[in-house]
């Protein structure tokens, strides 16, 4: 019997770009600012914090804690949009029941995470970006590989960020999110037949590293389609 691999190619977001799952760039349309979306959202949010009326949950929190949660919210937006789009396009319908249950459950969890982080951040919460998942929500194979990569990355991100939270209550909540994300990752890996826990130690990833990886997927576009204009109509009348 073949032993499952612990490091199957195509199961990280970096690799998705290499194997053709992510198609050519969209920089000609969206411009170069897209790549730094997460980073700019964090910096922009940080600059605004002093002027914002934040809810009691974060009022006492350090500005760096708010920035970390703003970054986390963008990442949760990414995940929840990914699972929701896959579900609504009907891609999950074609999956085996066990896998469909996994995909739908993860979507529900990620939407719950978005809701609570938005509530905690209050006015400091950013808007949901416009996403282009570039076909990765539309076939089972692409969805699965992206989901595994995304869950692994989320775990690594939270492993790196959570210890930086200064408020112990926020850190405790982030740890609770992290353990759930880690189980998501293990569940995803188990379903695709790779070792659920690849090593004895989860290497944390820095915010910069995660930012670059997410930017490399080109899933996030800073510009929405422009569908409104003020030009004179030339319809038939």
């Amino acid at each position: 019997m073949q032993r499952p691999s612990s490091n199957t190619p195509g199961l990280t977001l970096e690799q998705l770009d290499q194997d053709g799952a992510i198609q050519e760039g969209i920089s000609e349309l969206y411009g170069s600012t897209r790549a730094d979306f997460l980073r700019k959202a964090v910096l922009g949010g940080g600059a605004l914090i002093a002027a914002l009326s934040v809810p009691p949950e974060v009022k006492a929190a350090a500005a760096s804690d708010v920035r970390i949660f703003q970054f986390g919210l963008n990442f949760e937006y990414l995940q929840s949009s990914f699972y929701t789009e896959t579900d609504r396009l009907g891609t999950i319908d074609a999956m085996a029941p066990r896998k469909a249950h996994w995909a739908r459950t993860l979507g529900a969890h990620e939407r719950a995470h978005v809701a609570i982080i938005k509530k905690v951040l209050g006015p400091a919460a950013g808007k949901r970006p416009f996403f282009n998942f570039r076909g990765n929500t539309e076939t089972e194979d692409r969805f699965t590989r992206t989901a595994v990569a995304m869950e692994d990355l989320t775990t690594a991100l939270l492993t790196g960020l959570t210890p930086k939270l200064q408020d112990q209550g926020l850190a405790a909540a982030a740890f609770s999110l992290m353990t759930v994300e880690a189980r998501h990752a293990a569940w995803a890996r188990h379903l695709v037949g790779v070792v659920p826990v690849a090593s004895a130690f989860d290497e944390p990833k820095s915010l910069d590293r995660v930012d670059r990886i997410v930017a490399g997927t080109r899933f996030i576009s800073t510009l929405r389609p422009r569908t409104t204009t003020s030009g004179d109509p030339r319809f038939t009348g």
């Binding site: 739908r104 995470h113 609570i116 389609p225 569908t227 109509p233």
Partner: protein, 266 residues
């Protein structure tokens, strides 16, 4: 981590108590030394309560399947079949004649033998009601809408549904016999406001429908849904193919109907 801390503290405590002797009672897993509240009299801190707890996760309803539209990010040939050697039926532009981003209504998807993903789309071209296939890579992100506008040319009404429930209804003006409003399945592809022409009222929606007759009309003879400076003519067959609403109605419709909404004219 808490358990690990307990074990570390417990190990330290047991070594301090009996560094050279046989294992003491304190080092036994069943002993009181491994109770969480204290180890050999040293109180352990209480767990820190999380600052927030997410609400119960909710699965999406099975019926939650909004219509999808997609941005055309590069001009692309649309093909009759989902494969690159099939017949080209039209070229889909990146921009509309009004200068907005061009969008297409998404109807389905298929992967060809080479693994390339193709999207079945409704096109804003003549002949009306044309659908075709374009590569997924030519499209941008998807937008979702839960609305559907139905224009009834017999009753001269426009009815907007959201999640299959009627939320808007108004009288309309449709095309005269010489310039009929085309029938079929279309979509709303842009919205125009702040222009100077009173003929179109305060707001106009562009659709993917085109006049079958006025093909040499400037910008291609697209059918709009707009206000009017002649409200006394409504309802009636009064236009060159466009769908006219009273100005108050078009403004109300604009509050309810997003771009990308499927449009049925019957």
């Amino acid at each position: 981590m808490l358990v690990a801390s307990v074990l570390v503290v417990g190990l330290f405590a047991s070594r301090s108590a009996a560094p050279h002797g046989p294992p003491s009672a304190a080092s036994s897993p069943s002993s009181k030394a491994f109770r969480l509240e204290s180890i050999q009299g040293v109180a352990l801190p209480e767990p820190i309560l999380p600052a927030f707890v997410p609400s119960t996760p909710i699965l999406l309803p099975v019926s939650d399947r909004p219509a999808r539209w997609a941005l055309v990010r590069v001009a692309v040939p649309a093909r009759s079949e989902p494969r690159s050697d099939s017949h080209i039926v039209a070229t889909v532009a990146k921009r509309t004649p009004e200068g907005t981003s061009n969008i297409v209504l998404v109807l389905g998807r298929k992967t060809d033998k080479t693994g390339r993903l193709w999207i079945h789309v409704r096109l804003p071209v003549l002949p009306n009601n044309l659908t075709a296939w374009v590569p997924r890579s030519a499209l941008g992100g998807y937008g979702a809408v839960r609305t559907h506008l139905v224009v009834d040319l017999e009753r001269l009404t426009a009815t907007l549904y959201r999640n299959r429930r009627q939320i808007f209804r108004a009288d309309i003006g449709g095309g005269q016999d010489a310039w009929p409003t085309p029938k079929g399945h279309f979509y709303i592809r842009n919205k125009l406001t702040g222009y100077s022409s009173p003929t179109y009222g305060p707001l106009a929606f562009g659709t993917s429908a085109r006049s079958d007759v006025l093909t040499d009309w400037p910008a291609g003879g697209y059918i709009g849904i707009h206000g009017t400076d002649r409200p006394e003519l409504l309802p009636g067959r009064v236009s060159h193919g466009c769908i006219r609403l009273r100005n108050a109605d078009i403004l109300r419709l604009a509050q309810l109907m997003p771009v990308g909404t499927p449009l049925t004219i019957r």
